[in-house]
C-alpha cells in the first residue's frame, strides 16, 4: 500500500504523562521554595529529576526511531516546520525582555527625571543610562562592552563557523571533520559560559551590579541570564549530538537533529549580537 507509507503515527507512549507529572512537581516546588517553605527545593528537584528522565526516554525513543528509518520525508518536513516555529516562539520570548529594556530606557527612566514627576516626586534624580533608579541609593559600575563581552562575541561567532564546518563534514561524510567541528563548537560554548560566570562574579563583587540594581541591573541580568540559559541548553544539545555522531548516527542526507541544533545555535548567536549591541555597547 503505497499511500499508507505516506503517514507515520507513533504508538501510545507514556512519556507525555511523565513530563506532566514532572511539571506539576516543578510548579509546586518552585512556588513553595520562593515562599520559603522547607519542602520546596525537594519537590522542585524531584520534578527536575523526573523531567530529565522523561527527556532521556523521549529523545532516546525519537533517535532510535530515526536511526531505524521510521521517518519518511513527510516527517522530516514536519520536523523542519516545527523547529522553525519553535525558534520563532523563542524570538518572541526575548522580544518581551528587549521590549522591557526599550521601555525603561527610553520612556520610564526619562519620565522619572523630567516634568512634574521628576520635579515633585524625585527632584534629586538625574535620568540617563545606565541608571538604577530614583529610589535606589547604592551605586554600581555598568558593564563595559570591550572586555569580556567582546571576547564572548568573538567566541560565539567562531562557534557559529565551527558548527557549519562540522555540518559540511557531515554532508560529505567526513566523520572526522564532523566530530572535530562539533567538539570545537562545544568547547567554545563552554568557554563562553565560563567567561560569563566570571563576568557575573566580577559584576556582583567588584561593580556592585546585581539583579536588584534597578532598571539597568534587572534588564542586564534578565537578558544576559536568559541568553546564558539558552547557551547552556544549546551546549547540552550539542553534546548529545556529538555522542550520537560518535555512536555513528546520522547520514549525509538524513540528519535533521543535527540541523535543528545548529539552527538553535545560530539563533542563540543572533540574540547575543543584539545583546552585545543593545545591552553592553550602546
Amino acid at each position: 500500500m503505497q499511500a499508507a507509507q505516506h503517514y507515520y503515527i507513533p504508538s501510545p507512549s507514556h512519556w507525555p504523562i511523565v513530563g506532566s507529572v514532572a511539571l506539576l512537581f516543578m510548579g509546586f516546588g518552585a512556588a513553595l521554595w520562593i515562599n520559603h517553605i522547607e519542602a520546596g527545593p525537594w519537590v522542585l528537584v524531584t520534578g527536575l529529576v523526573i523531567l530529565a528522565w522523561m527527556m532521556f526516554g523521549w529523545f532516546g525513543t525519537v533517535s532510535r526511531e530515526s536511526e531505524t528509518g521510521t521517518y519518511n520525508t513527510q516527517v522530516d518536513i514536519s520536523f523542519r516546520w516545527s523547529m522553525s516555529w519553535f525558534i520563532f516562539s523563542e524570538v518572541m520570548f526575548f522580544a518581551a525582555f528587549f521590549g522591557a529594556l526599550f521601555y525603561m530606557r527610553e520612556l520610564a527612566v526619562p519620565g522619572l527625571g523630567s516634568g512634574p514627576t521628576g520635579e515633585y516626586l524625585w527632584p534629586m534624580f538625574k535620568s540617563g543610562w545606565p541608571v538604577s533608579g530614583p529610589g535606589i541609593e547604592q551605586t554600581f559600575t555598568p558593564m563595559g562592552a570591550w572586555g569580556i563581552p567582546a571576547i564572548n562575541t568573538l567566541i560565539l561567532l567562531t562557534s557559529g563557523a565551527t558548527v557549519t564546518w562540522a555540518h559540511w563534514g557531515l554532508k560529505k561524510n567526513n566523520r572526522g571533520q564532523l566530530n572535530f567541528g562539533l567538539f570545537l563548537t562545544i568547547v567554545l560554548g563552554i568557554s563562553f559560559l565560563c567567561l560569563q560566570v566570571y563576568e557575573y562574579v566580577h559584576a556582583i563583587h567588584e561593580y556592585n551590579l546585581t539583579l536588584q540594581m534597578g532598571a539597568y541591573g534587572a534588564s542586564f541580568f534578565m537578558l544576559t541570564g536568559f541568553h546564558g540559559f539558552h547557551v547552556t541548553m544549546g551546549t547540552l544539545m550539542l553534546i548529545v549530538i556529538l555522542f550520537r555522531c560518535l555512536a555513528g548516527h546520522f547520514k549525509p542526507e538524513h540528519h535533521f537533529a543535527f540541523e535543528a541544533v545548529s539552527w538553535y545555535w545560530h539563533f542563540v548567536d543572533v540574540v547575543w549580537l543584539l545583546l552585545f549591541i543593545l545591552v553592553y555597547w550602546l
Partner: protein, 527 residues
C-alpha cells in the same frame, strides 16, 4: 522497531493499544486527545461557572452578603483565568484535534506524542490554579490581567498562578506548532491552501497568533515573578521601572489573545451557516484575507486597553483608529455570513440556531467594542460594567455559542448518534434568553457608572443587578441540560449517517459516523 510502527490500520485497531485509564494517559490518537480536551474544557467551564455563580450571588443585592471583599476579588480573578485558559482555549484546541485531520484528509496530527503532552500539561496547570484557593492568603485577586503593582504584593497564590500560566503557555505553544505543521504538511493531495475549509484557515492563523504571543505572556509573568521574589524593579518606579510597562507587555499578548478565542469560532460558524443555508460560503477568499487582517491588526491595537493610564494624545489617537480599523475585516465577515444566508433554503437545526444566535449577539458585542474603542467614551466607561457586558457578548455569545454550535454540528460524526433535537433547541433558547438577561442589563449598569470588580454597589443599581443574577443562575443551570444532551447522544440515539446534514460539504462527511479511529487510511484526492 517494536516501539513504533508505520501507519497500518488493518493491524493497529484492536491489539497493542492499552485500554482503560492507560489508553487516555498514553494515547497518540487525535480523536482521543480531542475528546480529552473537550471534557477538560467542559469541567473547567463548570468550575469557572461556579465561581461566576458566587460572584452573582454576592451581587444579587446591595450590601455584603456572602464573601469577604478579598475573596470576591479572588472569585472574579479566577473566574477569568479559568474561563480564558481552561475553558475557551482548550475547547477550541479540542475541535482542532478532532476536526483538522478529518477536514484536510490526514490520518492524525503531525506530532501525535507531543499532541498528548500538550493536553496533559493542562491538568497540572489547572491543579496549580485551583489549589491556589487553599494556600495561605488564598488565590490571586489581582484580576485575570494580573496587573502590577497589586500582583507584586499578593501571596503565594499569585506564584501558583504564574507557574500555571507558564505551563499553559507551554501547552499552547506545543499545540499550536502541531496544528500549524499538520495544516502545512499533512494536507491531502490536491488540497491547496485556498481549498481548505474555513475552520482550518482560522486555526492556522490562530496558531500563528498563539506562537507569537504566548511567549510574551510568559515574559510578562516572569518579570512579575522576579519583581516579587528576586528584587528586580521592572514594574517599580523606585528602580526606574513602571507599572504601565506590565500593562504594555500584558496587552501585547492580551489583544491577540482575544482573537485567539474568537477566530476559531468564526471558523466553526463559517462551516455551519453554508450547510444549513444550503449555499457555498459567500466570499471565501475575502473571508481568508479578513481573518488574516484581523490577526495582523491585533498586534497594533493593544493600548486601547490602557487609554486611562496617561498616554500622549498621539498614542491615544493611533490606538483608537487602529482599533476601529478592525471593524472593517470583521464587517466583511458578518456581511459574508449574512450574504451566505441570503436566498438560501435555510433550516434551523440546533447548530444553525446557535450560529445565527452567535451572529446576532456577537455582532452586538462587536459594536460595543467599537464604542469602547472611542477614546473619550472609553475614558468614561473604563472599568465599568459596560466593559464587562462588552467582553461577555463576544466571549460567551461569541466563542461559547460557536462552541455549542460546533458540538451539535459534529456530534453525529463523533458519536455516530443524532443528538436530541428538541432538547438541543431548548438548550439554545434558554441559553440565549438567560444570556441576554444576564448581560444586556450590564450595559445600563456600566453607563450609569457601576464599577466592575467591586463586591458592593450603590442602591440605585439594585434592580438591574438582581435581573443579571437571576439570568446568570438560569444560564448556569441551562448548561447542565447541555451536559445531559451530550451524554444522552454518546450513550445512544438515532444512528447518524455519514452525512447527517444534507447541505454539508467537506472531507469529514465522506467518513462513516462515528469516524474511524484513524481518520483517513489513505489520503483522499481533492479535486
Amino acid at each position: 522497531m517494536e516501539a513504533v510502527h508505520g501507519h497500518d490500520h488493518a493491524h493497529d485497531h484492536g491489539h497493542d493499544h492499552p485500554t482503560g485509564l492507560m489508553r487516555w494517559l498514553t494515547t497518540t490518537n487525535h480523536k482521543d486527545i480531542g475528546t480529552m480536551y473537550l471534557w477538560f474544557s467542559f469541567l473547567m467551564l463548570l468550575t469557572g461557572g461556579t465561581l461566576a455563580m458566587g460572584i452573582r450571588a454576592e451581587l444579587f443585592e446591595p450590601g455584603m452578603q456572602f464573601w469577604r471583599p478579598e475573596f470576591f476579588n479572588q472569585l472574579t480573578t479566577m473566574h477569568g483565568l479559568i474561563m480564558v485558559f481552561g475553558a475557551i482555549m482548550p475547547a477550541f484546541v479540542g475541535f482542532a484535534n478532532w476536526q483538522i485531520p478529518m477536514m484536510i484528509g490526514a490520518s492524525d496530527m503531525a506530532f501525535a506524542r507531543m499532541n498528548n503532552f500538550s493536553f496533559w500539561l493542562l491538568p497540572p496547570a489547572a491543579i496549580l490554579l485551583v489549589t491556589s484557593f487553599f494556600v495561605p492568603g488564598g488565590a490571586t485577586g489581582a484580576g485575570w490581567t494580573l496587573y502590577a503593582p497589586l500582583s507584586v504584593q499578593q501571596g503565594m497564590g499569585m506564584d501558583l498562578a504564574i507557574f500555571a500560566v507558564h505551563i499553559m503557555g507551554a501547552s499552547s505553544i506545543m499545540g499550536s506548532i502541531n496544528i500549524i505543521t499538520t495544516i502545512l504538511n499533512m494536507r491531502a493531495p490536491g488540497m491547496t491552501l485556498m481549498k481548505m475549509p474555513m475552520f482550518v484557515w482560522t486555526w492556522l492563523i490562530t496558531a500563528y497568533l498563539l506562537i507569537a504571543v504566548m511567549p510574551v505572556l510568559a515574559g510578562a509573568v516572569t518579570m512579575l515573578l522576579t519583581d516579587r521574589h528576586f528584587g528586580t524593579h521592572f514594574f517599580n518606579a523606585a528602580g526606574g521601572g513602571d507599572p504601565v510597562l506590565y500593562q504594555h507587555v500584558f496587552w501585547f499578548f492580551g489583544h491577540p489573545e482575544v482573537y485567539i478565542m474568537i477566530l476559531p469560532a468564526f471558523g466553526i460558524v463559517s462551516q455551519i451557516i453554508p450547510t444549513f443555508a444550503r449555499k457555498p460560503l459567500f466570499g471565501y477568499t475575502s473571508m481568508v484575507y479578513a481573518t488574516a487582517s484581523i490577526a495582523i491588526l491585533s498586534f497594533i491595537v493593544w493600548a486601547h486597553h490602557m487609554f486611562v493610564v496617561g498616554m500622549p494624545a498621539a498614542g491615544q489617537l493611533f490606538f483608537m483608529y487602529a482599533t476601529m480599523l478592525i471593524a472593517v475585516p470583521t464587517g466583511v465577515k458578518v456581511f459574508n455570513w449574512v450574504a451566505t444566508m441570503w436566498k438560501g433554503s435555510m433550516t434551523f437545526e440546533t447548530p444553525m440556531l446557535f450560529s445565527v444566535g452567535f451572529l446576532f449577539v456577537f455582532t452586538m458585542g462587536g459594536f460595543t467594542g467599537l464604542v469602547c474603542a472611542i477614546t473619550p467614551i472609553d475614558i468614561q466607561i473604563q472599568d465599568t460594567y459596560y466593559v464587562v457586558a462588552h467582553f461577555h457578548y463576544v466571549l460567551v455569545a461569541g466563542s461559547l455559542f460557536a462552541l455549542f454550535a460546533g458540538v451539535y454540528f459534529w456530534l453525529p460524526k463523533w458519536t455516530g448518534h443524532m443528538y436530541d433535537e428538541k432538547l438541543g433547541k431548548l438548550h439554545f433558547w434558554l441559553s440565549i434568553i438567560f444570556f441576554n438577561l444576564t448581560f444586556f442589563v450590564m450595559h445600563f449598569l456600566g453607563l450609569a457608572g457601576m464599577p466592575r470588580r467591586i463586591p458592593d454597589y450603590a442602591p440605585q443599581f439594585a434592580d438591574f443587578n438582581m435581573i443579571a443574577s437571576l439570568g446568570a443562575f438560569g444560564f448556569g443551570l441551562t448548561q447542565l441540560l447541555f451536559l445531559y444532551v451530550v451524554v444522552k447522544c454518546i450513550r445512544g440515539g438515532e444512528k447518524a449517517p455519514a452525512k447527517p446534514w444534507d447541505g454539508a460539504e467537506g472531507l469529514e462527511w465522506t467518513l462513516p459516523s462515528p469516524a474511524p479511529y484513524h481518520s483517513f487510511e489513505t489520503p483522499p484526492i481533492v479535486k
